[in-house]
Amino acid sequence: MLAFIIRRLLQSTLVMLAVAFVAFALFTYMGDPVNSMVAPDATLEERQRLRHLLGLDQPFYVQFLVFLGNELTGNFGNSFRIGAPVASIIAERLPATLELVFVAAMFALFVGVPCGVYTGLHRHGAVSRVMLTLSLVGVSLPTFLIGILLILFFSVFLGWLPSFGRGQVVSLGWWSTGFLTKSGLRSLILPSITLGLFQTTLFMRLVRAEMLEVLRTDYIKFARARGLSDRAVNFGHALKNTLVPVITIAGLQIGGLIAFAIITETVFQWPGMGLLFISAIQFVDVPVMSSYLVLVALFFVIINLVVDLLYYVVDPRLRIDRPATAH
């Protein structure tokens, strides 16, 4: 188990380095950050001075090494646009994104999994058919369109929910939360539905397919033959065995939620990391972009590690250390 974790950590470090390198290499194609930092009629001399100050006149590999060195010592540099340390800006934005992702993930799990179980058990029911048809909408419509439609309906026509922003937030130390105010909670509804809708339908279809698969297997038939109750068979045996692939996908999808929060955050002007990243791209704010990409890669790596560890919990076969890998 320990060897496994260490091996995964080494692999993860390589992944992170690769991400940092690719991200940084891409930025050289993004144009000159100095253009957005100075007035259009700034002199050549002013531009050169700023380039020098920011280290942009250094060759690519020097800039990359400096960036790596900084990143390793926890110094993420200063945002060109906001003029504050990237670390503190990200720390300020992280709660907004994580709360949004958390609510979206909870929405996806607590709506998607039960719906999947239901449609799996009642595969020919009318309600199941309606659910499946609706889920097609969730899979096929692009996120920004869903967001705009929700805004149009619930904010513009009905006037029930805010169309943008995060509402009032309460600071708990360095964490600012929208969970404790009415406007904060109201603001969470539309963006989290928008963000989580794809995952909801995905979980539902996945659980349904797995359920149908498992219900056909021999051990379910034997369980029924033994006279176990429907409840025990469906939830104790069938559902538990459908969960392994669901955990894998769910883990990856949570990473995806963080990464794809960009679109939802842009639509709802949600002051999280995705919005920060989009503004950074428009401004060619290299320190923010590189730190964001490395951070998202880190999230993926951590989530994958957690998923692998969860297999041990769910699947007893993995707990037996095989001789080939145990020495």
Partner: protein
């Protein structure tokens, strides 16, 4: 559904009147870059600084100048401008505004890392006559000095020293206190600033101009919304009172919504096409040794092939002001004569090309931004078939602004043959446009944005003269002559000044109009 919206808006209006404080909630597409008066030289950031800080001279809605911290001024000699300061003006922390603060502000504006130094570039020193009288001494005669003073914000010396922000720092250095805090003497005070989220201001009860103020906003919340569709939705749902820019396709929709409408007004920026008139061989014609754009007839042919009325009608949906001038009306030195545009004439265009030796045209790439000006890419797309009709094969290269400006600008050595650019003279004087766009003899001081390297000796000479000409009449004549020569040379193809569109709720008073600079001067906004 409508009744819900109505009920909601009624409820809102009841709350608003019972509180009896006028709160303006407004939005645009990007956040301010910061509040430090000496850096972040950018329209919306400068406008917000103008709400918080006073200048010596104030620029009015119609671009004319009026007293601000200085109550009167006189030109003692070509190099000396004497100003009298308004007595009993206080900064927001209660300390008085004195001549020393003005001197301190000048030093900070002229600091190495300052971005605003161009506004006070010619000012050599400020002489203190007494606490309320100063003299601005320039290196030579500077006829546009007054025009530049509205952007020279006066900062408190003692406060800056106390908070350790006398140095101007930007970029990689530590965040400066002054970028997130303020202590000006302007009409509004800062309450809260959260980057990308909100900036909240309240009225400064002790502002000297209280009696003269046009607006009645007590509290303002600025909340940027990057996504245009969301911004429109926020206006339609009544969550904000004012927003800009309105995407052209949404204007009708907003006007049809009860309680919301679009206000339109002219903007100062002129959008134009430029040609490479410098290289001996056009980038797109490798091996031929020819640059057709060096021939005036070819430039004229291009000019006459562009059907500006079609662009106005179809692409801009009547939301622009076609122009023959490189500057907009309202800019000092604008000439109605120069503004008269040579007409669209396809036959003449074909004839000119044949005369110049290109009867079957030549290949050229048009470099165009796709996220900078209103409908920028669409304008270029429209120009391609127009030029094709005259026989020119144009390949369109539309890309994001940072790449576009790198390619056509000095960074990549003006790597373009034919390009689109837009310009607003930062000094509100046509001399600025001449220096940046139409001259290059004093490069790099002149012509940084003259990407086609247009040059005419007489234009250079007149521009140089106008730089130090203190007689306004003579100066205007020189500026007009220079613009006329450039126009007759077909140095660029001016297209139009785009129209500003502000979306407003009916909470905004009827007399509010968009400012040509396209930003919000809170003292000019009234609410019902």
């Amino acid at each position: 559904m409508k009744s819900y919206a109505l009920a909601a808006s009624l409820a809102l209006s009841v709350v608003a009147t019972s509180a009896d404080a006028k709160t303006l909630r407004y939005s645009t597409n990007a956040d301010l870059l910061g509040l430090d008066p000496a850096i972040n030289n950018e329209g919306p950031s400068n406008a917000m600084k103008g709400n918080l800080y006073s200048s010596l001279v104030h620029r009015n809605f119609d671009l004319s100048l009026s007293p601000d911290l200085a109550t009167e001024w006189s030109q003692l000699n070509p190099e000396t401008l004497r100003l009298k300061l308004r007595p009993n003006v206080k900064f927001h922390d209660g300390s008085p505004v004195t001549a020393d603060d003005v001197i301190f502000s000048l030093a900070r504006f002229k600091a190495e890392q300052s971005e605003m130094k161009s506004y006070v570039a010619t000012v050599k020193e400020i002489r203190k006559i007494d606490d309320l009288a100063i003299e601005l001494v320039t290196e030579g005669p500077d006829p546009v000095l007054l025009q530049q003073l509205p952007s020279f914000y006066i900062m408190p010396k003692a406060w800056s020293e106390k908070n350790n922000t006398t140095q101007v720092v930007r970029g990689t250095s530590a965040p400066t206190f002054i970028n997130f805090n303020e202590n000006g003497s302007g009409p509004y005070k800062l309450v809260e600033r959260v980057a990308d989220n909100r900036t909240v201001l309240v009225v400064n009860e002790n502002w000297w101009g209280g009696a003269a103020k046009r607006g009645n906003v007590d509290r303002a919340e600025f909340r940027p919304i990057a996504n245009a569709a969301t911004r429109v939705a926020a206006l339609l749902s009544g969550e904000i009172d004012l927003m800009y820019p309105v995407p052209s396709q949404d204007i009708q929709r907003i006007n049809q919504t009860p309680g919301a409408k679009v206000l339109e007004g002219p903007e100062l920026r002129t959008v134009f096409f430029g040609f490479d008139q410098f290289r001996d061989e056009l980038l797109d014609m490798k091996g031929t040794g020819k640059n057709p754009f060096k021939d005036k007839r070819v430039r004229e042919a291009f000019y006459k092939a562009i059907d500006i009325q079609a662009i106005y009608r179809v692409v801009m949906r009547n939301g622009s002001r076609p122009t023959g001038s490189m500057v907009a009306p309202g800019v000092q030195g604008f000439s109605a004569e120069v503004d008269k545009r040579p007409p669209f004439d396809l036959e003449a265009s074909k004839k000119l090309l044949a005369e110049a030796g290109y009867p079957s045209g030549f290949p050229v790439q048009l470099d165009c931004p796709n996220d900078r000006y209103t409908n920028d890419e669409a304008i270029c797309q429209a120009a391609v078939p127009m030029l094709a009709r005259a026989g020119i094969t144009v390949k369109l290269n539309a890309q994001t602004r940072s790449l576009h400006f790198d390619k056509i600008g000095e960074k990549d050595g003006f790597n373009t043959s034919f390009y689109m650019l837009g310009w607003t003279p930062g000094t509100f004087d046509v001399h600025n446009a001449l220096v940046n766009l139409m001259t290059r003899s004093k490069y790099p001081a002149w012509g940084i944005n003259n990407d086609g390297r247009y040059s005419n000796p007489r234009v250079e000479e007149l521009t140089l003269k106008a730089e130090t000409e203190m007689d306004p009449k003579k100066r205007l004549a020189e500026l007009e002559e220079a613009q006329m020569i450039h126009k007759n040379d077909y140095g660029h193809i001016p297209l139009h000044q785009q129209t500003l569109a502000w979306g407003v709720r009916d909470t905004i008073a009827d007399n509010v109009k968009p400012r040509p600079q396209n930003d919000v001067d809170l003292t000019q906004i009234s609410m019902k």
